[in-house]
Structures are given as C-alpha cells and as structure tokens.
C-alpha cells in the first residue's frame, strides 16, 4: 500500500509540472479573440517579421551546419582530455544569459573593436542588420546542433569507420560516406533544434539589431508600446509556428526511433 501511495504522489507532482508548462499556452489560445488573430495574421508588418525571422534562422542554421558538424565530429573522435574542455566551451552560450551574450557579440562587432573595424572595412555591418540578427541567433543556438551531431557521431561503432578505411576510404571519405550518413538523423534533429531555438531568440538579437524587426522583438515592441492586447495575437501566431516545428521534430524523432 505504501508503495502505491508513493506512486500516486509521483502522479500528482508530475501533473503540477505538466500543467505549469501547458496552461499558459492553452490559456492564451482561449483568451485571444479569433478576429484579432486573423487581422494580425493579415498585418504586413507581422507577416514580414515572421518571414524574416524564419528566413534568417534557416539560412543561419544551414551555414552554421557546415562548421558545427565537422567540429562535433572532431570532438567525438577526440581521445584526449581536450574533449571535455571542448564540450564545455561549446555549451557556454546555453549557460550564460542571452542578453549578456548579445552584449559580448556587440562588443566584438562594434566599430571600436578591430574585428568590427575590419568587417566594416569590407562592407559588413552587424548593427541593426540581418547579419547582426544572424550572428546573435547563431551564437545562442549553435550548441544545440553541435551537441546533437556529437551524440550521433559518438554512437557510431568505431569498427565501421575502421573497416571503411581498411576498404580503401581515406579519413575524409569515411567521414562523408559512413559517419555523416549514419548520424544524419542526429544531425537533422540538431538542425531542427537550432532552427527553432534561433527563431525564438530575443535577448541576444535585440542587443545587436532592433531593426529589421524579428518576431520576438516585434512582440516585445507591441507589448511595450500598445500593451498585452496587441502583443498577444502575434505571440499566439508565433507560438503556433514554433509548435508546428516542434511537432515536426517530435514526429521525426519517433520516425527515427521506429526505423532504427
């Protein structure tokens, strides 16, 4: 009996945690007037903002993948103590406040800094530009891709890569023909995670680029200038988009599990 009672406590405590996560979202769906949602969806400022957010996050994710995936591979193959240090470094953006990350990036790309000066000299402007939004999104979201790809690479049995080399493939060919295909699900899952984390970034983005306005910044702008009533429909539309991406990720994960 005592055991059953303790098990019931698990249900109760777990339900509280679940409701805490779900109720604010559900409440928002019920509290927002449908007409307002439709009129907001027709608003060109909102539509442009959502399109810009999705586009920048998508391009950023794809570009970052070319750098993040090789890094994840190298970390997974590292046998030295550097592996732990590298993994720690990669996760820094996750553990620091995103507004602080934005300040750090701003310090680096501002025109007072040699990096910023150099970028400016070749025509690259990070402040209040899509490029600034991109690096802010990339900085805070790329760890998700690296860690996911790292997990995928780590799960590949070493023998498969050794056999590939025994059969005539160089290390690079083995990476392309064995390691990447075998960890493609983890890499794709990481890409989806990075993309969805990128579109929802606010703290780091606002430090570098208030304009052009990405959706999280637009929600904040509407809230501070017009109040909750005007911010809520945009937030609701954006949450729906994020949830759809989450559903894709979830279905993808389940599909992968079933296939494997």
């Amino acid at each position: 009996m005592e055991k059953d009672f303790k098990y019931l406590i698990n249900y109760l405590l777990g339900s509280v945690a679940l409701l805490f996560i779900v109720v604010p979202i559900i409440n928002m769906y019920f509290a927002t007037d449908m007409d307002k949602i439709f009129s907001t969806a027709r608003d060109s400022e909102v539509r442009n903002s959502i399109f810009l957010t999705l586009l920048i996050s998508f391009v950023t994710t794809i570009v970052c993948a070319f750098f993040a995936v090789p890094l994840a591979y190298l970390i997974s193959k590292s046998t030295s103590r550097m592996k732990t240090i590298l993994l720690g470094l990669v996760n820094i953006p996750i553990v620091i406040p995103h507004s602080a990350a934005g300040i750090a990036l701003l310090g680096l790309v501002s025109r007072d800094n040699p990096v910023g000066k150099f970028a400016s000299s070749i025509g690259l402007n990070f402040i209040d530009s899509p490029l600034g939004i991109a690096i802010a999104m990339a900085y805070v979201s790329v760890p998700f891709l690296i860690v996911s790809a790292y997990t995928g690479f780590k799960e590949i049995p070493e023998e498969l890569e050794l056999v590939s080399r025994n059969l005539g493939a160089t290390r690079w060919q083995t990476f392309l023909k064995i390691s990447i295909p075998l960890s493609r699900r983890s890499i794709l899952a990481g890409i989806i995670l990075m993309f969805s984390r990128g579109i929802s970034e606010f703290g780091a983005v606002i430090m570098l680029a208030y304009f052009p306005t990405v959706t999280p910044v637009l929600i904040y702008k509407k809230f501070t200038t017009h109040g909750l009533e005007y911010a809520q429909p945009i937030a609701l539309i954006f949450i729906t988009i994020c949830l759809l991406i989450f559903v894709v990720y979830y279905l993808f994960g389940n599909f992968s599990k079933n296939k494997s």
Partner: protein, 349 residues
Amino acid sequence: MLDLKNISYNIGTFSLKNVNLKIENNEYHILIGPSGSGKTLLLNIIAGFLKPISGNVIFNNIDITKLPPERRNISYLLQNLALFPHLNVYQNVYYSLKFKKLSSKEKDILVRKYMQITNIEHLEKRYPANLSGGEKQRVALARCLTKQPELLLLDEPFSAIDTILKTDLKQILKRIKDSGVGIIHVTHDPAEAVNLADRISIIENGNLLTANSQSFQAEVPVSNFMAKFFGFKNIYQCKIRDLNTIELIDNTNVKRIAIERPAIFNHDCFVYIPPENIIVSEAKLLSSARYSLEAIVVSVTEDLDSVILECDAGISIFAKISKNSYIDLNISPGKKVWISFKVSNLNFI
C-alpha cells in the same frame, strides 16, 4: 609476403612482446590463442588500425608500418563483421570499389563475381538488419574480397555461425586461398586450425610461438599447453620411429602405434585426434583401416546430446559418443572397452 619484425605494443597492463612472424605467399596461417592473448591486437597492427611502439610491418618487401589502413592491400574481416547498416548487401560489397579507378561495368562485374563466390546473389537488395548471422558473415567476406587483397585477415570467422555454415565457409575460404590470397585466421578453436592451416602460430599473453618449427617444439610442451589454454583433448606429442611406427606421448606416458604416416611428416610433430572421430565398442573392431586400442573408462561426463569418456589406453584418450551409444554399451567408470579410430583421423600438426 608479410614479415612482422619485433612488433611490440602496450595497452594498459597488457603488452605484445617482440612478435616476429613471417607469412609466405598463398599461405593459410592460423593464429591460435585464448581470449586476451593479443590475437586481435596483432591483426589491428597488421591492418594499420594501430601503430606498434616498436618493430616493423614489412609487406611485399616494403615497410608499411606507418602506412594508413587505406593504402595497405590487406582486407580485414572483423569478428563483429561491421557491415554498414545504411547500405544494402550490394552496396556493402561494392564499397571498396568506390575508391578504385574502374569503369562502372568493371565494378559491377567484380561485385557480382564475389557475391557469386560467397553465395549471396539473392540477398543483393537486403539490408544487414535483415540478414542471418551466416548471411552477414558471407556478405562481410565478399566485401573484403572485392577489394582484391593480397592478404586477408580473419578474426574468429566461425564464432557466430552453426556447423553447416561453418562447413560452407571453410570451403569458400579454401577456394580463396587457392586463388592466391594469403590468409591469417585468428581463432581460439584448435579444430579450425587443424582443418584449414598450412601453418599455425600460438599466441599466449602477448608472446608468439610458431608451429612446425624447431623452436616451437623445443619451447612448448604441447599436451600441457593445449590442455591449459584450449581445454582441448587428444593432442599428443608425436615422435617418428620409422616409416610405419609413431609414438604418441601424453605428458610422460608413451604409446607406440604402428600406422602409415603421411610422407611429409618426416620429423617429430604433434597429432590431434578429434574425440568425435573415436569409436567405442565392447569388442575389437576388425578393420585394417582402423587402429584399435584396449582401454579402461576412467570418467564419464554427460553433455546435452553427447557423452565424453576419458579412457586410459596407456595414454589418456577422450571419446565423444552419442547418448544412445552410451546407454547401449552400458558404460561406467572402470569398464573395459575398445577404442578405435581411422588412420585418416590422425591430424598431424
């Protein structure tokens, strides 16, 4: 073909110590040793997966010690086979040809040739997850062969397959050897060694001893060695007395038997008599093709479907008989029996 010179390697507390081994062209060489003796480690060094801390790997008179695996014309069949799970059978077998400058047609011909040799043509579109153990084994072997190596490394190739498939695979391996490929076959099972080997090396705790050489016989007291490391029965030191007489020596016990030995064994060697090839009877079997010895049953060990008898015939001889025979003969310790075996069942090592 292959010459290992003073190869040493340390891993944790284990070390390979100054291993020297020569493999001739077209040789089927078996490397026997108990688990953890360094067999696989040695294959990994030959394949280039590991670099020895000292010594040289010479292949066709070229020092390949520092050559990466992909530049060695050596194929390696790993114990766990390591088939690529995302590629189907055809693609697995084709893999090594991706890196060769041949036309698509030539590549296809090669793949089909080796799929035919290993009897896997019907599995072409199947993925490794949908193959049986024996099928996987043959696919992995075909994949190794498509590379057209000069030397094939086999790590416990019979470990995960049943007796019928073993026989098939042995025939395939013999054909491969006959086609001019050298083979190093790692195993812990002496029966495999006897059936397939041109030469045998024994590896114990990182030390390598090569059979069919004076040094091996001088250094290894065979009956003790085999008993200790393989738990295998009926392996005797064999002294040649004359053309028709040999002495089988089990520890200090000597049994002189008159048989016509193969002419190639003109020096002292070892003899292995598989326990399942020994017939036990109450009366002497009258056959000129058989050698019979009177013996006393010392102990009886029942297995699932067979019974192992330890018999004292001057030397200790083990016989494996069926449960039905055991019941029919009403055998118990102390009973006098006749044990007989065909002369062709004597395996000279």
